[in-house]
Symmetry: C2
Subunit: 105 residues, 2 copies
């Protein structure tokens, strides 16, 4: 993963409202959650919610599938995993002796 992609994903998650949305989707698992249900749960105006979801989709952390009139959102686990891997990768490569740090990470 390129650093700009990682930064974009982290930035997307680095907002209370968007992190709430993302966590709700993670908790929902495979079945996902429709936009309207997120709106009820989180009490966010529709346009604001739509903007936030859009940015999560834009960076690949969330995907959407239309089911007739409702749009169901899903957390994209692979995307998150890639991000986590990026964060801990190359730990200590610029340092010779860091066994403790490596096991900690």
């Amino acid at each position: 993963m390129k650093i700009d992609d990682a930064a974009a994903r982290l930035e997307a998650l680095g907002n209370r409202t968007r992190l709430q949305i993302y966590r709700a989707l993670v908790r929902a698992g495979r079945s996902g959650t429709p936009v309207g249900r997120l709106q009820d749960k989180l009490k966010i105006p529709a346009s604001t919610l739509s903007h936030h979801i859009k940015s999560l989709v834009a960076v690949g952390l969330v995907s959407q599938v239309r089911e007739s009139t409702t749009l169901v959102c899903h957390a994209n686990y692979d995307s998150m995993q890639g991000l986590v891997d990026f964060l801990v990768s190359e730990c200590c490569v610029d340092e010779a002796e860091c066994k403790d740090a490596k096991t900690a990470a």
Copy 2:
């Protein structure tokens, strides 16, 4: 971890420059990196760099130790680990059947 703390850490990492700084520190491992060396490596004006480091320190992702005239920065692995745990925790708790998702996460 509270959601606001997690969001604050993610926001701190969600900026290209700060992510570069953080990654340089992760790569440096236990020995850490002085502020001045980061400045040379990343070619960032001192004041800008200082601002960014300050925000990483503020959220606990980075710690600093003074060694005579230089300030050495370290990536705080525990802090990162807590963040990663938060992100994947409670996966699927609102969904009955999601074994695939759970193993993927």
